[in-house]
């Protein structure tokens, strides 16, 4: 089941322009989605096809990192990194820069969610502060003599 991860939940809370979003791995498996499983699964095929067609269109050596397809009744955004691709849809004329920023942040957050946090190193204990030696006091000659 495609989980709605914390990163996607934050994405839809922050970016009110985004209607739906789905995250896939590079093989097309749904990693997370804001939609139910059926619709997320139906989105996976066209997302992967669009990504591959766009990559074929561009220069050979360069990988596609972002795509914006503006249609009459909405806009489709894709953002890809080495492991995953996120697709999102909005209504017409969104603020593209903001949407791209939010999608990139979401992908980064998903990457951070997957990486296990390194175990916290025990803090090196400080050596206790040396006590200042008590000031030597000379015994008075008188006392010593007594």
């Amino acid at each position: 089941m495609a989980q709605t991860s914390e990163a996607l939940r934050e994405l839809t809370e922050i970016s009110t322009q985004i209607e739906a979003a789905v995250v896939l791995d590079r093989e097309g498996a749904v990693v997370a989605s804001t939609l139910d499983d059926d619709r997320a699964g139906r989105l996976a095929g066209p997302t992967l096809q669009l990504l591959r067609a766009a990559e074929e269109t561009g220069p050979d050596s360069e990988s596609l990192v972002q795509l914006e397809a503006a249609l009459r009744d909405g806009v489709v955004f894709l953002v890809a990194d080495a492991d995953r691709v996120i697709a999102a849809t909005t209504g017409p004329e969104p603020t593209a820069g903001l949407v791209f920023y939010d999608l990139k942040s979401c992908l980064r957050a998903l990457g951070a969610e997957e990486k296990p946090k390194p175990a916290a190193k025990p803090r090196a204990r400080r050596a206790p502060a040396k006590k200042a030696p008590a000031p030597r006091t000379r015994k008075k000659q008188d006392d010593a003599g007594a």
Binding site: E19, Q49, A54, P59, E62, L64, V65, A70, D73
Partner: protein
């Protein structure tokens, strides 16, 4: 009197021109297009009408329809 009507004419003409430019820009924004951004920072814009754009736009339409159910 003649001077005032001349000024009115100029203002109306300027307003019409500004309106036409604004509408043109809005129409251009609404035109279907695909923008591709690559790893080296290059950008490719494909406007509706070219075969490459039409192929990508068809897939984007399919994706949008699937998302909206």
């Amino acid at each position: 009197m003649r001077g005032r009507s001349f000024v009115t004419g100029v203002v109306v003409a300027a307003g019409s021109a500004a309106g036409a430019i604004a509408l043109g820009r809005r129409a251009a924004r609404r035109r279907e297009r695909v923008e591709l951004y690559f790893g080296d920072g290059s950008l490719m814009t494909l406007s509706a009408g070219s075969p490459e754009a039409e192929r990508l736009l068809a897939q984007a339409r399919e994706l949008l329809a699937a998302a909206r159910g």
